[in-house]
Assembly symmetry: D2
């Protein structure tokens, strides 16, 4: 019964198999290999347009290298106050960009509302050297609250962003989970809704360590290659990243894994919501469930070996009792059922 994080699991067998297959003799290093070239083609297919794609090992690197490519050191970046880039990367955006200003925005269910962005932009005077000029808005998909932006919601934010020439960034650490919920195409969820650049996450959903940064307009990729090298994220044995990503994308593995994880979360959420005294805080749309238990039930669940985290959301102090449960590509239905049964017993 481990619901602590989708990072707590290892990797899907297909990924290991691909790494075995890729260990087949000399190959040019630093990304000049045929597997990496193949990755580029696959992303063009998946997004139905020519994109520029770069592989890096972690989500923090993916997000922040995209920021550094599109935001000058004196610029500003908007993100939800609970976004990973604002809260959980130890200032990585400020580091990679050379000191850009992160401007946190509030918003229900982990989402930024169009009015909130419009008001924030209205406050920032154009060409006024005392204000950090805004360059990027970053959206997390799925959000930190396990909710998902509809393409229309992304579009509404992008339309406002474009009035001030902001780039729209999507932190897709859990993009597969979001996409499965939406049921639309990758293109519809991203560039067709106004996204300029995304972090296409694979690590949480079954890879070892592999993320792609996708620029939907290849001309915007600018200095990315230099910035990646200079931050130590250009792998010498680059096939390691490429082989993972190819296996992840092959035969819709990524969607299958996310479908599985989302299904477990849904079952978990429904099961827990039905119990006496529990509360679900956000709609379960991806692979995360935010729930509070009555009394000391959470503590007893820990004591009986269940793994999950108590959770606080900035700007929302009321949720003192909230817990976060995450399902993964490997979560078994039996674990879910066992946890619900145990909780039911304790909730009495």
């Amino acid at each position: 019964m481990n619901f602590s994080s989708d990072n707590a699991e290892g990797w899907a067998p297909e990924i290991l198999e691909a790494l075995t297959a890729a260990n087949n003799g000399p190959m040019a290093s630093y990304g000049d290999d045929p597997l990496t070239e193949e990755v580029g083609k696959r992303f063009n297919e998946i997004f139905e347009k020519e994109v520029a794609v770069f592989l890096v090992p972690t989500g923090t690197a993916a997000n922040c290298l995209a920021f550094a490519t599109l935001c000058p050191p004196y610029g500003a970046i908007y993100a939800h106050e609970a976004a990973h880039v604002q809260l959980d990367e130890c200032g990585a955006p400020e580091f990679f960009t050379g000191g850009a200003k992160m401007l946190p925005l509030g918003g229900e269910d982990g989402k930024i509302a169009p009015d909130t962005l419009a008001q924030a932009l209205g406050f920032s005077m154009e060409g006024f050297v005392h204000h950090s000029p805004p360059h990027i808005i970053s959206l997390t998909q799925a959000t930190e609250n396990g909710t998902v932006y509809a393409p229309s919601e992304v579009r509404a934010l992008a339309d406002i962003a474009k009035t001030r020439n902001l780039a729209v960034h999507m932190d897709g650490a859990r993009f597969a989970n979001a996409l499965v919920h939406l049921g639309c195409s990758p293109a519809e969820a991203t560039w067709k809704a106004g996204v300029d650049v995304m972090s296409f996450g694979a690590t949480k959903n079954g890879c070892m360590a592999a993320e792609a940064v996708v620029f939907f307009d290849p001309d915007q990729a600018g200095a990315f290659a230099y910035l990646r090298k200079r931050s130590g994220h250009l792998f010498s044995k680059h096939r390691l990243l490429a082989a993972q990503m190819l296996a992840y994308l092959k035969d819709d593995l990524w969607l299958k894994l996310a479908t599985h994880a989302n299904g477990q979360a849904k079952a978990l959420g429904q099961g827990l919501e039905a119990l006496e005294g529990t509360r679900l805080w956000y709609p379960v749309q991806a692979n995360e469930v935010f729930v509070s238990f009555p009394g000391d039930v959470a503590g007893q669940l820990f004591a009986k070996g269940a793994a999950f985290h108590p959770w606080i959301v900035p700007g929302d102090p009321a949720q003192g009792q909230m817990c976060r449960l995450v399902t993964s590509f490997r979560t078994e239905r039996q674990e879910v059922d066992q946890f619900i049964a145990l909780a039911r017993e304790l909730c009495g």
Copy 2:
């Protein structure tokens, strides 16, 4: 009738006289001169303890060099969301610190409330590498709303800050104005209330360009000298800064100038508050008045040659009509009276 800013005026005659007197032959450069040594002694007297003091030309340099000395690149700094360091320095704190995270806090009247700080600190987990560890809280004195922290208010914040070993920084760009309002000693307003380092402003209050960074524990000054040099703020003809500061501090000039400015602001505030349809938004405690006028009175005042700025405060969108009027060391009573008379006429 120029109430646009205390930066809009030139300099007090005593400052010019001091620069004439200081132009008296060769002197060691880069601060190894006798005038700079004398500045150190004067600050020891004024603050009734041995301090480490450094001169720089601008308030942004003063604030941000203090930050860079006391906060590592991966650390976090709390400040009011309307603070100059957060809002009006184009990301200078992020630049000087090498990418520290600025965490804005809300608060009425431009002040941070103890509970707000406590809650923010509570959210930041100690030793958790995903969170930027907090290192500094910065207080603006007088605040951006023209209000003044009482020493007891500073102490309450400092006590909370010390539970997590935060340094307490005071942005004293308008410290003289605040001190005149408080009527206490410089020591009582600062280190006796828990302040570790301050920007001691002089430019706005009659100097040309001179600010002092004061470390109340000289051992905390650390790498300041290197950081100042490396940011281009170590003046070769350093006597230029020292002579200004000595003249500013001589015979209580600084307090006399601030007393004058505060008096004009008080008269201005009282006069405007008495008019039909106006509203003062914050208590007038220093040299700034925040007022809204009925109808299109503000526009008519502009049209008749009065200079002041419309003002928006982040997080407080209700004040669409608010205007900021600033008095200076040189504002004449006649200007104040003239402005009030004109406003009275227009408010009908």
Copy 3:
């Protein structure tokens, strides 16, 4: 006949097996797992003292995170002008440190001579804020020229470095190859010779992507953990790094692989040196051979399918004809013999 780089090969079978074995259920993420704990113990054994060890995926990250931990943004770092950190990391040291100054030093055979370091230090005035104060000297082991510092050479440099309190860093991207050549213990080659921190490379010598930063005084590790997180180099599925490193260290695999590579290089060097018109530029002490061929032999070797790089060394323009050949943990003796035979034929 691929001698282009030790990065051009994949990974040793033991590494893949370890990753299969490690894929065994949930484990705490971000390094709080039992495999990572085991890595720490292994390094203590290998170096015969308690060390602080951190895993990262690339050598650039390893080197530059060590720099950022031990050198402030205003400090200076000495390195050989041909060192990877100076030449081949696109300014990564400057990036990670927040702008430290890299001061390149010349030196024969890729090594820094004690006199050169002493003279450079003599030029830098202590406590003089106009000069970037030196904080680190970085030694590459094996060097970029395929040579190896003897422990006595390291000691001579360290003794000079310590007169000014510099930390001694060893870039051990090819440490295993150097150690095999030296035939001494890991401790003798490092901390017993005065090294404070090292990058312990594993990627080039058979891993996929895994390097360890080892602080020989754990108290010096300081902010490393924050800096690693903030640069995107803290792996969520950290077992990926730990499992590789454990397999690499198990049963002396690392030394066996390096012994193999060095042996091939030695054979290659001896074979080529014996040919008509060739020249070996540096002693072959690790897994690299720097050779020039007569006439257009190099071009003909390329044309016949041999892979290697022409090579220029900064400050040494005479070597217009020099080529670099690198052997790896996987280079087969047959390839070496075939290459020599081909070269012999062409050199006629």
Copy 4:
């Protein structure tokens, strides 16, 4: 007899008078004032073309803000190994640029030779992400050795620089002294010879603290205004800088002051060269004399109250005895004669 530095003097009377005249009532702050506008016009006249000009208080700020405008964080900047930007700014170029790489070049008489630049550029591979791509070459005029680049020498370097699209920067901290020596127009010494941006120094030559950054193509000024603000170098009472600069440029004051300083240096150099056992190390072309005295004459000169610095030049250890003597806009002929007489007596 103070020859320690041109920074050791105060300021010319015309500068003080201008600051008195400028203290005449309210003026828009932060550079939106009529004096600053007038500065722009004056520079257009002086350089015979439309330029973009920005005022800052120090030479370090001027140089490094120009660098940060024209070089990305991952770029490289060439400068002479003895240049102020490389040696005497405590890493300011690395700080302002966000970590660009400084690549020092050797060269006689403080000058970079065209071949040296060509060879360095030849070593840097275009589009190779492992190398920091070169963006700027910085020339110091007059050099740190008191010599002056002829326009043809600047042109030869600029022609090479342009083959790789480098910007040519001139550090003109002593530009007036150089120009007086050259006897050509400001335009001929700069943009007509291929200079893109310059630091136009005024502080050393009679101002208090005022330098101009001049972009000869206004379109290249890019983000300068943001970078200046963010580094704390945008003065609120900007008229302070503008008034100094206008007075400095009025009626050729700048050239008169430099003519005076150069004349004293020439006399000093000629007088000292004629003595028994002295040696002049570089041609005296501006306001600096580099001389060695026999035996312990230098020490005796110190003991008798003469002020000057012993001097070491990196890469030139032979000059153990070298001393630097600097004349200024205020050096009196009597001081020069007195010093020569004293030295003559001591040299016997």
